[in-house]
Structures are given as C-alpha cells and as structure tokens.
Subunit: 213 residues, 2 copies
DNA sequence: ACATTAATTAAACAATTGATTAATTAGTAC
DNA sequence: GTACTAATTAATCAATTGTTTAATTAATGT
C-alpha cells in the first residue's frame, strides 16, 4: 500500500538518492493533485504516497503551494510542448482538423488534465498573475493563427469573428473531457481513445462543412 | 458590512422571524457557495453574512453539507424549470435555436451557475447518487428529444449520432460561461448579455448551416 | 400566572492541516 | 580522523473548521 521502505535512514544521501526523493514527491503530487485537486489533497498524504516525511515537502518545495505550482507548471509545459511541436502543420492546409485530432488525443490520453486545468487554473484567482494568461494564452494564440489562416484559405467560414471560431473549436475539443462523468452516465458512450477519434471526426465535419473552400 | 442587526435577541421568535433567519442563511449560502464553491466557504462565514450564529446552520440545515444540498437543489430546480417551461417550443420547428437562446441567456444572467454546477455536481463524487443523473439528465433528455425531432425534420444533419449533437450543443451553450475568466483575459470580448446574444447567433448558424432543411 | 417549548447564543470541543523545530545521521572535504 | 554540511525524522505548534453543548430568552397554550 504505502511505499515506505526506509524505516530509519537519515543523514546526507548521495545525489541520485536526493533527486529520487524530490522526484517521488513530484510524481505522487502529480497523481494526487491530478485526480482530486489542490484543496482535497493533504501534504501528509503526498508524503506518505512518496514514502517520506511531510517535512520533506517543505524542504524541497517550500510548502504545499510550491509543490503544487512546480507540478502544475511541469504538467502544462509538457502538454503545450506537444501541441506547439505541430505548429506549422496546424497553420497549414487542413490544419484545424490536425489541431482537433492532436488536442483531443492529448486529453483522451490524460483524462485528469482537463478538469485539473479548469479547476486549478481557470477558477483559481490566487495563481501567479501571468499563469492564466500564459498557458491558455499560448494554446489560444496557436489556434487563432491557424483559424485566421484557414479563413483566408476559405477552409473555414470567413464571416464569424476569429475569436468566436477559436472558442468554438476549443469547446469542441475540451468539453467532452470536462464532462466525462456526465456523458458516461447519460449516454451509452465511454469517453476513451476510440470515442476521441470519433469525436474529432464529428467536430471536424461541423467546422468544415459549408465553408467556401 | 455584516448584517448583524439583533445584538441580544434570544427566545422563541414569531414564525415569520424564524422563516426569515432560515431564508437569510439560504441566501447568504447561495451567494457564497455560488461564487467560491463548497470547500472554500466556512460555516462561520455564511452565518456572519446572514447575521446569525454558526450554530444556526446546524439547527436549520443539519450542518454545512445539508445547507449546501438544500441551496444547490433549489438552484438547479429553479434553473431547470425555466428551461422545461419552453419544452414544446424547443421540440418544435426552429427549436434548437430557441434552446440555444434560452440556455445562453440563463447562463449569462447568472454567471456563477455554470462553474458552480461543474465544480460541485459534475466533479463531486460525494453527492447523492441520483443527483448527477437527475439534474443534468433532465436537461440532456429535453435537448435530445429536440435534436431527434430536428433531425427528422431535416433541420439538423441527420448523419451524426444524436448524442454527439447534444454534446456539441450543450458545449456551445455552456463553454463560454465556464471559461469566462480566460476569454476575458485573452480576447477583447466581455462575457455579458450582449455577448450571449451574439454567441447564440453564432452557434445557431454553425448547427443549422448545411443541413438539408 | 405558569409550565412548556422552540429559537438563539456564547463557549468550547475535537479533528485536521500546513508548517516549524530541534535533534540525528551520514556523506564530504581537508 | 575531525569538522562541516546537507538530508531526514519525530514531535510539536498554531491556526482553522465543523459541530456540540449548556445556558438563556421569549413566545405559546392552558
């Protein structure tokens, strides 16, 4: 159950040992914060999961808040890097569909990402001020460039405000993964990888259909 | 600041007085839970806002959880009644657009409803089990009937699974109000009543365009 | 009038939680 | 080998929070 291996081991450990403790804490925190959010998880719990003392959270991360921010920043950076790596292809022809596929696949692979970001970033007024603007902003900016380009090429309806289309596309990507419990309760669908592919196809059809391309 | 009017009034009050205390607690709870969620609000805070003692929360609502459930149930029932009142017109011709207008207007008038329901109903595994199925279920059922009818009339693309269209339509209605902080940070738009009308029009165009109707 | 009853209060309780501290242990440098 | 330093632990602190309790007060019924 608990990963408490070393019952009585103090003193200065080797460098790889110390990095292992930090890493175990980060891993445990990512898992627990991911599934249950910041407030519902206690420092004792994270420490126990990592097999160390609660005081280590303070030693390595300067408290619960620091641990959370470190984990969250890593998580977002990781997720965004995956999207931005496909930057050029997204801005190119058929790019909106590529964006949809990538974003939906990303969220399907990590089911806790969407609720976590919503709960802890979108709805959290106590975050470092640049946080909200920075991470969702990068995704938004990437997609907006792609939308404007697609409108110019006639792949998307050129009439609506680009911001409206961006919001629609993000909504289509994210919403099913935000609402997974509801969808799985009220429909016969399971929000998994197979659903993600079907869904991306459905959403893609909706945006492209009727465009003058 | 605080509504503490009666400094030293104990003893059995008249019936309207006692209903006033219960009502004041419920009102304060709705406002505080609405803006900041269940966990972040303390019983002391609600009581202070209502001008009474924390113990009254236990007396009238059997604890914080009871208070929350009472308030939440009222709130959801109220919101759903407004939607179901338009039931027939939603199932009739052009009903999807009527649904969009109503739902979006409802969420624009009460900006805290969407985040509250998401945080406290969708993401809350400790609710009475029927809760999740019941309230989102009624909305979902209403809309699903309308979608099937609209598909039969050829107003909506008959090809996609009805569930997929329902999810898309709910996403279009709810998402901007879930993401209000992000949208207002990253775009020039303000998510208010005017935005709501524009948005409903945009979403309506997206769903109807290209249909065989 | 008088006992009864319901509402209300102030105070305290018990549990939880994030954080701190002083002691302890083992590597490292000289 | 001795002094030094960094990691780790166990214990504790201080604050917060939901809830309970015993006392108090006033309306009500008879």
């Amino acid at each position: 159950m608990d990963a408490k291996v070393p019952q009585k081991r103090a003193g200065r450990p080797s460098d790889d040992q110390r990095r292992e403790v930090r890493g175990r804490l980060a891993a445990a925190a990512r898992e627990l914060f991911g599934s249950r959010g910041f407030a519902a998880v206690t420092v004792r719990e994270v420490a126990q999961h990592a097999g160390v003392t609660p005081a280590m959270v303070n030693y390595y991360f300067r408290g619960k808040h620091g641990l959370f921010l470190a984990v969250l920043e890593d998580l977002l950076e990781e997720a965004l890097a995956g999207m931005e790596a496909a930057g050029e292809s997204i801005t190119g022809p058929g790019g909106i569909r590529i964006y949809l596929d990538r974003h939906v696949a990303l969220l399907a692979e990590n089911p806790w990402v969407a609720p976590l970001i919503y709960r802890e970033v979108v709805l959290n007024p106590d975050l470092p001020s640049n946080f909200v603007a920075h991470f969702p902003g990068r995704l938004f900016g990437l997609l907006r460039r792609a939308v404007v380009a697609a409108q110019r090429r006639g792949e998307l309806d050129p009439e609506p405000d680009a911001d409206f289309l961006v919001i629609s596309i993000v909504a289509s990507s994210v919403f099913p993964f935000l609402m997974r419990p509801v969808i799985e309760t009220l429909t016969a669908h399971t929000v998994d990888d197979a659903f993600a592919r079907q869904w991306a196809s459905h959403a893609g059809r909706m945006f492209y259909r009727g465009a003058a391309g």
